[in-house]
Every structure is written in structure tokens, then in C-alpha cells.
Symmetry: C2
Amino acid sequence: MSHAAAQASIGDSEFDRDTTITARADEPGVYDADLSAGWTIITAVNGGYLLALVGRALSAALPHPDPFTVSAHYLSASVPGPAVVRTEVVRIGRTLSTGQASLFQYDENGAETERIRVLASYGDLAALPDEVRTTARPPAMPAYEDCLGPEAGPAPIPGSSAIVDRLRLRLDPATAGWALGAPSGKGEMRAWFELADGRDADPLSLLLAVDALPPTAFDLGLRGWTPTVELTAHVRRRPAPGPLRVSITTRNLAGGFLEEDAEVWDTAGRLVAQSRQLARAPRTS
Amino acid sequence: MSHAAAQASIGDSEFDRDTTITARADEPGVYDADLSAGWTIITAVNGGYLLALVGRALSAALPHPDPFTVSAHYLSASVPGPAVVRTEVVRIGRTLSTGQASLFQYDENGAETERIRVLASYGDLAALPDEVRTTARPPAMPAYEDCLGPEAGPAPIPGSSAIVDRLRLRLDPATAGWALGAPSGKGEMRAWFELADGRDADPLSLLLAVDALPPTAFDLGLRGWTPTVELTAHVRRRPAPGPLRVSITTRNLAGGFLEEDAEVWDTAGRLVAQSRQLARAPRTS
């Protein structure tokens, strides 16, 4: 598969620049950030991007580098602009440490408003044994070349969404019917996922990948917002270079809520991340 | 199916008595509790019981009654005896409110040691529309009468486990082979689940139900502890009376960790709860 000539790298990419955190010299565990307008869907900042940014702050605050399990409750809608992440070290263990973080933005009077609160346990993926005993199989989906990039059809989401330019998503045609008015009704979404500037995936970008595809509600024939109430992601392995396969499934739309289960597979055929979120179902059908 | 003559009821049962919380008059949002020795596996207090007790404290602290999504990170092993739950109201919204809670016990010097930290969003299950649009199907398992109660075989876990007397678990024979030395290797566990005193299920007891079956690791042929790192449960509907069907699956045992996905179905054929946990895999095989 062909990539753009200029490959960005981990540490020097759009994703890294836009998740930059700056430690306050006088307040340990507090980090300033600037939410980029580059990761928005219409006007809303993508929840996976927020999770990655908060995840970076926790990685700085905790003695272990990698998110193993991250639980986020979304409290209010983030907007591009200044933000502050306040972290707390909850427990430090030998192989795992646990931390908490809240991302705040400022209201018109300068008061802090909490956007997202996170509990997370971190470890060191490089220290894990290579043992794998899994019955999980990669999602059945066509080869990269046979999936649909943005050039293949109409804009998937009406309106201007900056995040479309930051990602290189190629949708499985079987889960892209909604873009042509023919959703499958199964509640599935599958895509090859890369960052548009060619930066390889790492544990932090996996936190973006689990929440960056079009919502499964589209494949159920529903339009409108699917705001996340809570999302928990497990990162199970450092991903191999190359495009990821992301598969998202909704089985239970009931009572005005739905779950979205995501799996992320790397080019080595390893399940590198799993996530589940509870979201509000769109009100219109 | 037949039940013991004396049926306990919601509010007057072993489960209710053992999850009793007492608000401190002088400290708003702080609740004293006593962890019962009745819900232990050998010496460890069951994680689902802890989650239900913390869930009861959050239900008291928040304006909405029912746990919709509860994320718990387990920090240290709880023991029977006194405990205190400290809650914080994070956000109050119209249909959902979010809270945080920590359960502490006391070390030999009387200092508080944190056992579990929880982030949760609560709502009102009774206020949800009855709409269901789901592709999920109940687990394929034999009828209640054809599953295996404790009288059918050897004690599933060596040693004395008080929790066995508090639950009426009937295992699907297909996932009970490990008790006879013949695990299926699939990483599945299915059972009919009731409280032993006949108390019907409610949203709080669902938090127990998602973490009360023998670990799927047993069905993978592994013995030993599977300590939970993090568990997130979604309660989707108030359960109908009668025994629940609980199905737990592990797909990815890798790098010394595994996930356990649980589904809980009620007698009305509704998916009432889903959960996923990340746990450490047993060290011995």
C-alpha cells in the first residue's frame, strides 16, 4: 500500500503536537493544554482525541508509561481552546499504578468547568510476556485496497469535520451503505485506520482509534449525535507499524442508550486494544 | 422451578443487610459499612459484592437512583470488617448524574487504606422508554433444571468459600468441565444466577451478578487467582423477577492479562447488564 511521501513519526506529528501537555512549574501534576480545532466533528471535539490527551498527562504523572485500562466519564462538551488537566496519583504498585485525571476548560467568567473525568491503571507494555492464548480472530474485512477512502463517496457526515483531514480511514464497504442511504441495520462499523500524516500507532493513539470511526448508529439507520456517557479502553499490546483494523459493534440499542464495542488489530494480527462505551442513542431515526 | 419456602425480598435480605451503609451525620457523602465475611472466596471479599456496596452509597449520594455505568479500579484486597465509603458528586444533570466513590479500610495504625475507586453515572431506569432494537440474543444454555447446582459435583473452588452459601448458581454443564478436570478450553462460563435467599434481582444486585461466577480462566484450564484490575458494568434495564442468566467470555488471554465480558439476561429475555473487566491471568497453568 502506498503512503504520502512525508511520513510523520511518533513524537513529531499532528497527533503529538495537538496532544502536547505542559507541566505547571508551581503545581505538581497539573498540565496545560490547548484543544486543537483539528480533531472536531462539526463543532464537537472528538472524545478519543480528548482521551489520548488526558492519557498523555497521566503517562507523565504516573511512574508507569502505558495505559492498560482507562475509564472516562464525559461530563460536558469540550470546545477547541485552552484546557487544563489535573491529575492525582491514586496508588503506585510494582507492575501497575493507578491515577485519576480531570480535564477542565474555562467558562466566560474564567471558572473551570469539568469536561471529562478519568480513572486509569498504567503499566509497562514492554515488560509483559509475549504469551498469547486467544480465541479472538481479526475482523473479517476486505484488504486495505478494497476498502473505501474519502474519495470513494460523499462526505460521510454532513457539515465540515476537521477530523476527516487528520485521519486516513478506509471503510469496509459492507458497513458503508449508510453513506449511500442503505445502512445494513446490523450496527457494525469496520475500517482501516491510520493517522493522515503517516505517524505509526502507539498506545496513546489507540485511545483515539477506539472512538474515531463513524458511529455504529449510522449503520442502524439512525442519524444525529451519539454522545458518549462513558468509555473504557484496554490497551493490550504495543501496536506494530502500519494501518490498524478497527471493528465496532453495537448489539443492544434499548431505552435510549446503546453500547459500542471496539476492537483494534495491528498488522501483526494481534488484538492491541478493546473498548466499550455507553452512549445516548440518537433521538431521530 | 422450586424455591426455598421463605423468600427474602428486596430491602429485606442477606444482600441488603450486608450492603447496608450508614451516613455519617457530621460528614456529608461519607458512609460507614461493614464488609461481611459472607461474600468471601477463601479469604478475599468478592469484587462484585464490593461494587454493589459502593453502588449503594453512590445511589444515596446522587439525585438519580440507578447505576447506568460504573467503572471500578481495584487497588488493594479488601477483608471482612469495617469500611468507609467517601463519595463526591461530580456533576448533576437532568437525566444523568456522575459521582465518584472510594472504599477505604483501616490498617493496623487506624490509617485509611484505599481498596477500590469508582466513577459512575447514574440515571433513572424507570424513566427510560421501553424501545428495544437489539441484535443481541440470550446465551444458548440449557434450562434451569438441566444446569448443575452445588449438589451435582465437587466443590468448584478448593477451600472454604462463604459466598457459595449466599448464591444459588446453576452452571451450564458445557462450562463446568473444569470441576471434573476437563475444561473446554474456550474461556466461557454460563450459569443461572439467584441469591440463595430468593431475593429478586435489582440494579444493585446486578453489580454483584457480573462478577460472581467462577472465573473463565478455569474453563481455559488455569487455576489460581484472577484478580480484577478494573471492571466496568452497564445496567440497561431493571430486571424482571426470577433467575438471571449470566454468560461470561474471555477471548484474549495475552501478556499475563485477560478480559472477562459478562452479559446478564432476565426471565423476560432482556439484556439487563453488560460488563467487561481486565484481570491478571493466573500465573500457574
